[in-house]
């Protein structure tokens, strides 16, 4: 196969994968704390900045680069006392059997044992570990203080990682540190909004425009392949024909 066709196949595959990422963004337009992903195909000639780029070498001269847009989603008031939104950088910490996980999805719950739990059912950690509540009269204050019947029982642990974040999405709104040796530090300049959730930062209109771009680029690659194929056909059937 000619190398130009191979390049176009890579390109179509990339557009297809990008569309998968876009479809996942759109499916999560109502998922609290969700951060949108995107993919780009970077030609090899451009040297991506290793600090911000991820490089997956493709055989035909292009690299895939994925990033997650961690920009703030808007804070939506819900009126539910166990909801908490982060306004600013950082993550809540949730305890799981596999170790600490990080999340911005603050729709917390209380189990029958009174332990405050986060997405996936793991305990949400405070400064002193798990948080046990004794009453139904609970609220979360701006500094992350968990107030149980008028008494501060603990302060939610909110942590930050060096940027760019090296986090993996695990589903259910949870992130895992890609490198477990990197210890998170207490987040600075973040405020907790009790009785509110951070909306998904997916903007539908943006996704629609990107989807059109993906579709038309895909189509253009297909047309180019057809043109090459036509030229090949011409070369194999017409050139050298004795009339």
């Amino acid at each position: 196969m000619s190398s130009s066709i191979e390049g176009l196949v890579q390109h179509m595959q990339f557009q297809w994968r990008r569309h998968e990422v876009l479809a996942n963004n759109l499916a999560n337009v109502s998922t609290p704390g969700f951060k949108r992903d995107d993919l780009a195909l970077v030609p090899d000639s451009a040297t991506p900045d290793p600090a911000t780029a991820n490089v997956l070498a493709l055989p035909a001269g292009g690299s895939l680069l994925q990033w997650t847009d961690y920009s703030q989603g808007f804070v939506q008031v819900t009126g539910r006392n166990l909801d908490a939104a982060l306004n600013g950088p950082g993550f809540f910490v949730v305890q799981t059997p596999a170790g600490p996980r990080y999340t911005r999805a603050g729709s917390f719950n209380v189990g029958a044992n009174g332990v405050l739990s986060g997405p996936g059912g793991g305990a949400v950690l405070g400064q002193r570990g798990t948080i046990t509540l004794t009453s139904a009269n609970v609220s979360i204050a701006a500094g992350g203080e968990v107030i149980d019947n008028g008494r501060i029982v603990d302060t939610l642990r909110i942590v930050e990682f060096p940027k760019p974040y090296r986090l993996m999405k695990e589903g259910a709104g949870l992130y895992a540190a890609a490198d477990p040796t990197v210890e998170p530090t207490p987040a600075q300049g973040v405020e907790v909004a009790g009785g509110a959730l951070e909306a998904s930062n997916v903007v539908t209109m943006h996704m629609m425009v990107t989807m059109i771009e993906v579709l038309r680029t895909y189509e253009a690659a297909q047309r180019a392949m057809q043109a090459i194929e036509q030229a090949n056909q011409h070369a194999t059937t017409d050139i050298g024909k004795v009339s």
Binding site: L22, A23, N109, Y165, G171, Q226
Partner: protein, 263 residues
């Protein structure tokens, strides 16, 4: 090559459930003591094509991986127990709980259910019952010749009898509380039953630490805000539409690749 289609359809199903919930909230906008619900969504698993933090070719560290998500799913319907507005009714047995707590009601099978709907009535024997005939626990029996039923903010029920000028106490209405009222199971008719997630009921007198107080002659309206639900309905419908466009795009892309081979 199918994930895009399934991600989008999972998004549509999630929005469908969202609309179902909004419709139920709106249907109950005039239901006494009704508490609205909302659907909580989470992102599904991610397919990891390359983990972040790997060593790159020139000794660089790759900060992010390539992960393609597989859509969204509804994980929970959260009932929001915020206080509803009060409506004055002048009914002597209409009660609202101002603050936390539930009335305890005995069901036909003898078990206890819990409600915020305080529209009580008298049955044939003078017992305080709900509109469906569920008996208030601990029960208060109002004598036939009782006048001037007074229910204090601490739940004490007192009446003046026909042949007397002083009020006599009939008992005290007790409230119940749960560590996690979000874990209660709705069984319809404004009733909730405890589950393993809600924990067992803790009873107490109205006005005690943590318990709400009672107000006679009022009912608690549903805490559904019509405007909020309308806005939620619009956003949900548009999100549904956007996901359907993702399916259309995937379909069109498939059609384009299928037409690569002509003839």
């Amino acid at each position: 090559m199918i994930p895009a289609l399934y991600s989008a359809s999972s998004g549509m199903q999630a929005q469908q459930m969202n609309l179902d919930t909004i419709a139920n909230n709106l249907a109950n906008v005039n239901t006494t003591g009704f508490k609205k619900t909302r659907v909580d969504f989470q992102d599904l698993l991610y397919q990891t094509f390359r983990a972040p933090g790997l060593q790159g070719t020139q000794g660089t560290i790759i900060p992010t991986g390539i992960q393609v998500g597989l859509g969204a799913r509804p994980v929970a319907t959260q009932r929001i127990f915020s206080q509803g507005d009060f409506q004055q009714t002048e009914g002597p047995l209409d009660l609202v709980i101002e603050g936390d707590g539930f009335f305890q009601v005995q069901r036909a099978d003898g078990s206890t259910a819990y409600t915020r709907a305080g529209a009580f009535k008298k049955d044939g024997t003078g017992r305080m019952v709900t509109s469906d005939g569920g008996v208030l626990t601990p029960n208060i029996v109002i004598p036939q010749d009782a006048k001037n039923i007074t229910i204090g903010s601490d739940g004490t029920v007192s009446v003046t009898l026909a042949n007397s000028t002083t009020a006599s106490s009939l008992g005290t209405i007790q409230l119940a509380q749960f560590v996690n009222s979000g874990g209660l199971l709705s069984i319809g008719k404004n009733l909730f039953v405890p589950t393993a997630a809600s924990g067992a009921a803790v009873t107490g007198t109205p006005g005690q630490a943590g318990f709400g107080t009672l107000s006679q002659g009022f009912l608690e309206l549903a805490n559904v805000k019509v405007v909020d639900e309308m806005v939620a309905m619009i956003t949900s419908q548009r999100a549904y539409e956007a996901n359907s466009k993702a399916i259309q795009t995937a379909d069109e892309m498939l059609s384009i690749s299928n037409s690569l081979r002509r003839g």
